[in-house]
Amino acid sequence: MAAVTIGHDDHHDDHHEHAPEIPYPVQLRSNRVGLWLFCISEIFLFAGLLAARFYLWRVSPDMVASHPAYEVEVGEILRPELSQTVGFITTAMLLVSSYYMVRAEVAAEHGHRGRMVRSLWVTFVLGLLFLLGVVIIEWGTMPELAQAITGHSPIRPTDGVFGAVLFAMTGMHAIHVTTGLIFILILIGNSRKGWYQPGRTWGVEACAIYWHYVDVVWIFFYPALYLIGTVWH
């Protein structure tokens, strides 16, 4: 390493000029392209999980042989028994939260700091409720409560491929929701310090894109987990 640097020594010193200024519009464009590429990249993550779901939650030939009582065909798509109510309510909350995120973004662009912060808080609370719905009820972190609400005992991660894929998908999504929530808190904190003036709202825009993105992912996950396929008992 040192060998390579020797050359640098005698040269760099006389060129300690400032970095060429990158104009804000160029930087903004870079940020946007970068974030969208990140979203595309994550499509492959969630698609991988969805692929696992459709690959594993299927009727295999052995199952037909050993479960003659069921009228199932090889290759038929299955799903575990989950509470439709819980799924519907949590999904609805996440969707509504996106609406408030849009409000926050518009408010930021118009310089209405108060309205922006209020909308962010609503988004935050709805997102948090979604997260708690998944973590406490769907995951059965409080088994009695989950049982009382859903009427059946919660599925465990060790419950075969159903538990495994369910927890992997909801878990990966929950990690993204959590980072989104942290992002929102950072926005709220930094807006107190006068960040995100009109024309410089990239932070809010980024958070909004991310939040909507996580929301859209759930729009694919929700039917895959709750709606598609025959319930397997």
Partner: protein
């Protein structure tokens, strides 16, 4: 609060402390390796070691480490700078590397200590009462990555921003310290990062090469001479993964150093993210080496059910290290794509970019997307091992399926093998016109063929799984799709031939490596379709033929062009010229040795040698070929050492290299060598075509933007 922590970590005390850590840890490490080697030799030679030898070694190691720690603490203040060891420790305490490693070790130790009695869920379910420590290792490895990142300081700016501080991008070396220290610290300059990648890559290459030589010695003769079978398994697994890491580092070096200059930019679009991509590789590498120490026997592919059930715990560190490397791939690929989209110089439209940039784009397209699916596969194995979540065990209803892993794994890893070669193709296309003094034949076709390879690369993955029990229809589909790769690859070969055809060729070292790489890749490329044909693959799968195939593709596609690039851009990077005679010696040793090695591997494969096996039946009559391969490996190893000697000593020569030694048209040669902090002294513009070699000298490609009124 955050600011206070940051300030403390740069205080005098903290620096002394890190110097102490560096001294102690390095001593511990070196002595451990030395004792390991000693015990191994004693064991092989059947010398009766004294009974308490191991305990004694432990005491010696502890005492010396403590002493060196104390010495480091004193040296950290700078009072011992008169001694080389004092200077070493003084500067060590001032590097992000040491800070990060300390953070990683600290976090790992805390987590491990707290969690060591926690059992994994499969352990609980099967009634094991004594925890193996696997749960602690997994969580410790995960969190220790953050330990590294925060202590090293890669995340400092972002963390400060989260708490509402404005942070400015700091350029140049650490104030008041020698310039070279920036290479061991967090630095945002793409050239510094490129060199960091490159030097790390070469070191990792040497480590992986050393492992290969060890197990090649074992294979030179039938019967087991040097290692236990478990050790052999660990060695080849670690060799594979470490070499792959080295190739990624080398690709990172090329792209980071070259791409921004070539498009006329001052830096990457996201300099901090760039530093992050490099530095997260360090904790990942630590995990891989840790996995090697614990032992891991799954090979680099880590297929379940073996990886999800093996008792060799190094496998979890391997999975974790592989996973963390993924962040680096994704982040740096996004960074490159954005840089190309938004940071090109005036006049640098897409069809006028140096052709290497096109291959960087193709590479990044594969890296930023496909990497995610291998992450899914790896984390599934980790989840199955620690949480008992069943993805791969077919005993449940509905059944898990190990083939799922192979799909997710190869959906990434097939494009990944193209990541290793496409930048190399770019180098070939970049350098041939310079040394043949002729335009690159079919620029647009070559540019598009890189993208074509990337796209076709996404639909061929299951050719690795012909014997895995897939439906027949799928096998045919993937056989045919694999053959399609030949089209864009063929375009490249014809372009290279067309460029050479009738050229006025000269043969300095870089050109030799480029021509050598074409010959070697041809060998790899021709052995591929034989594997992609189902009936032949049924025989050749899991044989040494596959080993010969991929070594030829990777050496032809990456190693040879990379070495060529090192020689070619050496005067750009250092401002000095390498020694031509030594360079040629390196080439003429390495090329024939490689041919012997690779063809030898294919031959033993055809004659029944399986891969990933420590021993073979003497009746197969393979001894001679195997010995020959081992000798060839040693020659390759020596030739690489010659290169390192050459590059090292030439950097110290007084004589400066000519400004544009190869007569290249590429814009990076307009700037002084070594490149200044922000590349071009004044912005450049592109006014012509890139590869008009051997034509009218007036046809300029790039020039500094003339001042107004000029």
């Amino acid at each position: 609060m955050v600011k206070a922590i940051v300030n403390f970590s740069h205080s005098k005390f903290a620096r002394s402390f890190y110097a102490a850590f560096a001294g102690a840890a390095l001593t511990w490490l070196l002595l451990s390796v030395a004792f390991l080697a000693l015990n191994w030799i004693v064991d092989l030679a059947d010398i009766a070691a004294p009974e308490n030898a191991v305990a004694l070694q432990g005491t010696v190691r502890l005492i010396l480490a403590v002493l060196m720690g104390i010495l480091g603490f004193i040296a950290g203040s700078g009072v011992l700078n008169g001694l080389w060891i004092g200077r070493f420790l003084y500067y060590a305490g001032r590097t992000a590397l040491v800070r990060g490693l300390f953070g990683q070790g600290l976090v790992f130790a805390i987590v491990y200590f707290l969690m060591r009695d926690v059992r994994t869920i499969p352990e609980i379910e099967s009634g094991v009462t004594q925890a193996s420590g696997e749960a602690a290792i997994v969580l410790g490895a995960l969190l220790s990555t953050f330990g590294f990142l925060w202590f090293s300081g890669v995340m400092t700016d972002w963390t400060l921003q989260m708490f509402g501080h404005h942070t400015e991008l700091k350029h140049g070396g650490p104030p008041g310290e020698p310039e070279w220290l920036r290479y061991f610290n967090i630095d945002v300059n793409h050239k510094v990062i490129g060199i960091q990648y490159g030097v790390t890559g070469i070191l990792v290459l040497l480590l992986g090469g050393a492992l290969a030589i060890l197990f090649r010695l074992e294979l030179a003769f039938p019967g087991m001479q040097l290692f236990s079978t478990d050790d052999y398994n660990t060695l080849f697994s670690a060799h594979g993964m470490i070499m792959i890491a080295a190739v990624f580092l080398g690709v990172g070096a090329l792209i980071n150093y070259l791409a921004p200059v070539m498009i006329g930019a001052a830096d990457m679009a996201f300099p901090r993210l760039n530093a992050f991509s490099y530095w997260i590789g360090v904790p990942a590498a630590v995990m891989l080496v840790g996995g090697m120490i614990l032992g891991w026997d799954t090979g680099w592919v880590g297929y379940p059910p073996h990886s999800s059930s093996t008792q060799m715990l190094g496998v979890v560190l391997f999975l974790m290290g592989f996973y963390m490397n993924g962040f680096a791939s994704i982040a740096s690929a996004i960074n490159l794509l954005v840089t190309v989209v938004t940071m090109r110089a005036k006049g640098m439209n897409y069809w006028r970019m140096p052709i290497f940039v096109w291959t960087a784009i193709a590479t990044s397209i594969m890296q930023f997307s496909a990497t995610q699916t291998v992450g899914v596969a790896l984390s599934m194995v980790l989840l199955q091992r620690t949480m008992g979540m069943n993805f791969f065990d077919p005993s449940t209803v509905p059944p898990g399926d190990p083939v799922l892993y192979q799909h997710l794994f190869w959906f990434y890893s097939h494009p990944a093998v193209y990541v290793w070669v496409v930048p190399g193709f770019g180098l070939i296309s970049e350098l041939l016109p310079v040394f043949a003094r002729k335009p690159l034949y079919g620029y647009k076709w070559v540019a598009m063929s890189s993208i074509g390879i990337a796209l076709v690369g996404f639909i061929v993955w299951a050719h690795h799984m012909f014997t895995a029990g897939m439906p027949d229809t799928l096998r045919y589909i993937f056989m045919v799709s694999t053959m399609f790769v030949g089209i864009p690859t063929g375009v490249k070969f014809f372009s290279w031939l067309g460029t050479i055809w009738g050229g006025k060729m000269i043969y300095p070292t870089p050109m030799l490596f480029i021509l050598g790489s074409i010959s070697v890749f041809l060998l790899g490329g021709l052995s591929g379709p034989i594997l992609a044909t189902i009936p032949t693959d049924l025989h050749l799968h899991d044989s040494y033929w596959v080993v010969g195939h991929f070594h030829a593709t990777i050496f032809g596609g990456f190693v040879f062009p990379f070495f060529g690039a090192l020689y070619y851009w050496y005067p750009k990077i250092t401002g000095r010229m390498y020694n031509e005679w030594l360079g040629k010696l390196h080439f003429w040793l390495m090329l024939p040795a490689f041919w012997v090695m690779s063809i030898g591997q294919m031959v033993v494969g055809l004659r029944g040698m399986r891969r990933r096996i420590a021993d073979y039946d003497p009746a197969l009559n393979l001894d001679f070929t195997h010995s020959l391969i081992t000798i060839a490996t040693l020659v390759i190893g020596w030739s690489v050492l010659i290169m390192i000697y050459n590059l090292w000593t030439s950097a110290r020569s007084k004589e400066l290299a000519p400004e544009n030694p190869w007569g290249s048209r590429s814009p990076e040669w307009l700037a002084p060598s070594p490149l200044p902090e922000f590349n071009y002294l004044s912005p450049i513009e592109i006014i012509g075509e890139p590869y008009e070699y051997g034509k009218d000298e007036e046809e300029i490609y790039a020039r500094p933007i003339p001042a107004i009124g000029d």
